[in-house]
Amino acid sequence: MTAAALLIDFGSTFTKLRAVDLEAAHVIGSGQGPSTVTTDVTEGLHKALGDLEHRIGWLPDFKHRLACSSAAGGLRMVTVGLVPELTAEAARRAALGAGAKLTGTFAYRLTEGDMHRIESIGPDIILLAGGTDGGNREVIVENAKRLAASSLACPVVVAGNRDAADEAASALARAGKPVTVAGNVMPEFGRLDVEPARAAIRQVFIDRIVHAKGIDRAAAMFDVVLMPTPAAVLEGARLLADGVKGKPGLGPLVVVDVGGATTDVHSVAEGAPTREGVVPHGLPEPVVKRTVEGDLGMRINAKAIAEAVGFDAIAVAADLDQARVRALFDKLTANVERLPQSDDERRLDRALAEAALRIAMTRHAGTITIVQTVTGPVSIQTGKDLSDIKVLIGTGGVLAHGAGGAAMIKCCLADPAEPHTLRPRAPDLYLDSDYLLFACGLLNDKEPEAALTLGLRHMHPVGNNVS
């Protein structure tokens, strides 16, 4: 018998398993159980293991049993920075890159009202930034004192001005708050360094959040819960793009994930300008970037998608009349776990997914603005230029399981009618039909080469845009 690994995703609805043969780097089997984090996490995992055993006829003796989790609300995080477009934005990006679910973003001095809001949000973790190294120190220290004086008990990661970080951290520690100091998210003006904060958040997640969420009750059944599920997907994307030593990956790529509540876009790309004479502007972009569109989801936020593009547009795209669309929406919002049961519902799902993808990709990709100067027009690029990306991967329920996923992800692509958004032009299209990206991301921690081979083998090519 060859060595095997078990990859677990404690999701908000399901507990999903992938059993992987490490030598052959292929999937032995999958299992699924309900999500039981709110009661007893072991129950759902037992059921999922039973399902896995039932499908493959036996249970391997796993060498690694690695888990990620998005259950119990995911990693709910509040970020605090100084200037909204600068350290507050850097903190936001670090949080998203760590796989967090942003439940509040704050800037400048925290007011009484802000503190009430943070207390009522009750986040799992707070990321406190502010000031470049040697820059503003008053605000982060003051905000730390405010947080210290609050009723909040969650861990705080301090990732701001190096000169003030210790003072901020000791104010929090004196008040009994668990605190970690990480490198500044913006050590110099205009330079982002989100990795140290991301690593610190992940460590806090492993050390504390897993326990706080009750997932460690099943600790005997796995080795470690490494990260939040979105972070595992992002790790998987990074591995697929960069490869490992001696084995190249696919190069710069974009992953889109349409879920029930949000649409996530991950890019692993520099995003440098591809057009001639374009001047980059604004904060530099992290190579590994995740954006989350909290208003674009196939179920919980179905209405929000329709509001963004117009009910009539959705109706036209789905080839349904508006009354029918509204009736179907009521069904969807009444039961957010509903899978499409008729042709009408499948067409509506497709129209929603396409709209969500188009908007999410447009927001993730950079834009070109033309500024008129006395020496003529100048093109300014904000964000990443993804025009020349060669690989686009679709993952998540509707793309992976529904028919027509390939056609749907084409909605992410550049549109000649919108020349100022820098979406991918003609990438090869892949679907993560086996829902393996999270598993690759987890396995990367222990067996990067097997994880890469697994990922490369299981991303299903579904054509390219050159037609």
Binding site: V83, E85, G135, N136, F189, V279, T373
Partner: protein
């Protein structure tokens, strides 16, 4: 009065935000100024060309800058700089040192009048075209020394 060594005057370690304001792409002079300032011991936060007024202010907040050096070379400086001090005050940077320099206005205008207009806008100093970097650095040192004594800027 003690003689200041090159890297040891008042201003040593002070942070200055530099950039070219508005829709102006003329970056060369601004770069030269930045290099000279760094050599003189200042910490320079260079925003480059095409910088909106708001971005100077945001950078100054985050870096706790001691001064902002605005360049304008394309003749529209007066429009771009209007309300600059007000923006700073709004952001809590009431007393930040503000310099402006370059081809600030179109055509040949009397410098005394131009300078007055920019000082009235709330800039601490305005510099005409062709100013030597050494003069700017000397002015910065005088102004920071004056500030150490509680004055807004030096008399000369």
């Amino acid at each position: 009065m003690p003689v200041e060594s090159e890297n040891n005057g008042p201003g040593r370690g002070r942070t200055l935000v530099t950039g070219v304001i508005g829709a102006d792409t003329h970056i060369v002079g601004n770069r030269i100024l930045g290099m000279a300032l760094e050599e003189a011991g200042f910490k320079v936060v260079a925003l480059g060309a095409l910088t909106p007024a708001e971005d100077f202010v945001k950078a100054a907040i985050e870096t706790a800058a001691d001064g902002i050096m605005v360049s304008s070379l394309y003749g529209q400086g007066e429009l771009d700089c209007r309300g600059f001090r007000a923006l700073c005050v709004e952001a809590g940077l009431d007393d930040i040192l503000l310099y402006v320099g370059g081809n600030l206005v179109v055509g040949k205008q009397d410098w005394v009048g131009v300078e007055k207009r920019f000082l009235d806008m709330g800039f601490d100093r305005a510099f005409p075209p062709g100013t030597r970097t050494a003069d700017v650095i000397a002015a910065l040192r005088r102004d920071f020394a004056a500030r150490a004594e509680g004055r807004q800027r030096a008399e000369t």
